[in-house]
Amino acid sequence: MAASIAYEDVEVGTELPAQVFPVERATLVRYAGASGDFNPIHWNERFAREVGLPDVIAHGMFTMASAIRVVTDWAGDPGAVVEYGVRFTKPVVVPDDGQGAVIEVGAKVAAKLDDNLVRVDLMATSAGQKILGMARAVVRLP
């Protein structure tokens, strides 16, 4: 599988295919194990409420990992990512109601740079709230 998109085919304003990522409590437990972040605010509702949160919240790094999939799926080669940064602006609240939460991520090409680099700006929301700010990736395309 080669990178699926070429630098010369990209235009500023090009929208990347948007994606929707469901998040349930089990998703967070699994991510805690894989990432080593066992903070109880991500799996223990009693603890989350004690520290003033409305409920269990997703790991910010889980949201960050999900959002970049919109870019890596588009670019084909995840190794094309040379820069990636986000600001965590709102928590993704994940209730234990059999449905959980949904993270919606869209992205578009914001700039074409030198050396076959392309800057992509990401927009991530959950329950209608923006959850990431300044979310940007730079990818090197063939």
Binding site: G33, S35, N39, G60, D77, G85
Partner: protein
């Protein structure tokens, strides 16, 4: 209590090497639901020009955040960890992490700021492979919220989101 500004620029000794394992990458990719074959299939990764399976971009955080523990717990810094939330995260890659890498991290206090009563700590984690080549730099912004809620109202709006715990042993192949 304000963090000690004189510690800006302080670097900590490199960590002992973390060995990136194929199965740890697979476990991480599955945990984020990412089925890109470059993470699990060596042949697919090779077809993209990588010598072995590569790790998802944010995999690096598990390594750099564990390394940042030496900063967070530095008694001279005096950070109240119970009030810390994750503000920003940024990565700059020279190449993707891949299976077989033996990576060391050097953590540096990049900046200390006081904003609306909150203490903002920027930690830079530079990751190098066993040949000394740069792999990725992680910039982690931690915000210690003010003890007085009135002072931290503004920052609360933005920063309430994330409260990472001191990273425990990851069960990885460190």
């Amino acid at each position: 209590m304000a963090l000690d500004q004189s510690l800006v620029g302080r670097s900590y000794p490199p960590t002992t090497p973390y060995e990136v394992g194929r199965e740890k990458i697979r476990e991480f990719a599955e945990a984020v639901g990412d089925r890109n074959p470059a993470y699990t299939d060596p042949d697919a990764a090779k077809a993209l020009g990588h010598p072995d399976v590569i790790a998802p971009p944010t995999f690096a955080f598990a390594i750099t955040y564990k390394a940042a523990e030496v900063v967070i717990t530095d008694p001279e810094l005096g950070l109240d960890y119970s009030r810390v939330v994750h503000g920003d995260q940024r990565f700059t890659y020279s190449r993707p992490l891949r299976a077989g890498d033996r990576l060391t991290v050097t953590s540096t206090i990049e900046a200390i700021k006081s904003l609306a009563g909150n203490e903002v700590l920027d930690i830079r984690g530079e990751v190098y492979d066993e040949t000394g080549e740069h792999v990725v730099t992680a910039l982690t912004k931690l915000v210690a919220r003010a003890a007085d809620p009135k002072e931290s109202e503004e920052a609360d709006q933005a920063e309430k989101a994330e409260k990472p715990e001191k990273v425990q042993a990851t069960g990885g192949e460190a």
